[in-house]
């Protein structure tokens, strides 16, 4: 089963995102900031990461830079998911190693489309 780590300091966002990923047959883990996410990735590297930008302790941008330097850290597909939606922020995120970028607010269609963009094609091939 594919695994996904949802990194967001909002419990509501984590809950909404979890529901979407679970219907796409992902096994979902959660982290509420970049530091906890890095610890989680040190234990098991997920296949995909949905990543908020602004979080306490360690933000999404710093997490991503640390992740890409960590052993095995190049493997997960990272989808930034943030209210930071100006072109400059998107370019910075891509430069730091993000695979896709979701501007909040998002819905199921957007997440599904963005996951397809990075090679996860929904329920059909999940079995």
């Amino acid at each position: 089963m594919k695994t996904c780590l949802i990194v967001d300091d909002s419990a509501v966002i984590r809950k909404v995102a979890r529901r979407i990923f679970e219907t796409m047959n992902f096994k979902v883990g959660e982290a509420e900031d970049g530091e906890k996410a890095l610890t989680a990735c040190g234990e098991t590297m997920p296949d995909a990461i949905l990543l908020d930008w602004n979080m306490p302790t360690m933000d999404g941008y710093d997490f991503l830079r640390a992740l890409r330097k960590a052993p095995g850290g190049e493997k997960p597909k990272v989808l930034f998911c943030t209210t930071e939606n100006d072109v400059g922020a998107i370019a910075r995120a891509l430069h730091a190693g993000a695979d896709e970028y979701i501007m909040k607010p998002f819905d199921r269609d957007i997440v599904t489309a963005k996951l397809a963009q990075v090679g996860f094609h929904g329920e059909a091939d999940a079995a």
């Binding site: 939606n85 072109v87 891509l94 896709e100 979701i102 819905d107 957007i110």
Partner: protein, 297 residues
Amino acid sequence: MTELEFDFLRSYLKTRSGLALSAEKRYLIESRLGPVCRRFNLAGLGALVTALKGSRDLALERAVVEAMTTNETFFFRDRTPFDLFRDVLLPEAMARRATQRRLRIWCAAASTGQEPYSLAMMLQDAAARLAGWHVDLVATDLSTEVLEKAKAGLYSHFEVQRGLPVQSLIKHFEQTGEQWRISASLRQMVDYRPLNLLHPFDALGTFDIIYCRNVLIYFDAPTKGDVLARLSASLAPDGALLLGAAETVIGLTEKLVPNAQHRGLYVQAPAAARAPAVRVLPGLPATDPGLRRVVGL
């Protein structure tokens, strides 16, 4: 709405836009035409029918037809037809037109522009190879309202996140407030024109590649057959026609056949394709099953 009124609207829409509504689609008429009644200060669908029968109010006629069209679309919808364009159709058409250096492409149900702009982005990515070429990208739709949106090239936060890779977003769009506007260079590549597929379209000329996706599904079989036959007439002998995933030519026209390798791709039936095939390989009989592969599709 009485049965008579429902029957009138069904046949009215069938004549005007080809829309074939089955008896259980009553709800669709009620939900889509209710707002039109309010906009034109008509008490209800009964009053609407009376108005449509009474006199020719072009604004009302257009509003009724346009309200009943489905405009759902998104960038690179279904992905495969666009990968096919980039990897197969465009390179092969360029090889065949190397002398003329001219390509003509038509999006026959362009809706709000996502399909023609997806093709335009791919053409722009191939700009180096297309230097010195003349490429016509014609995009038509029945609805003038959606064409206005297409020409403006302004898309919501949600529209640009369905199907469009983020790299393409930052490369081809600029943010204007809450919306994203596609670049002027892409807007200039597309020639938008209003067109009802039920009416003659031979004046548009002949095309090398036609995208006509997710519009035939709304027509009944005779209308599908008629539109497909005329699409065949507007398609170059070695041209390519792309239909939607739920559409086919089988049982509807003899003039087009599915391509064996690529789902959704249709080419001229061997008889229609005979002339250029014979020119390519004079020894081959026109009915040879390998012919289409030889011709390049």
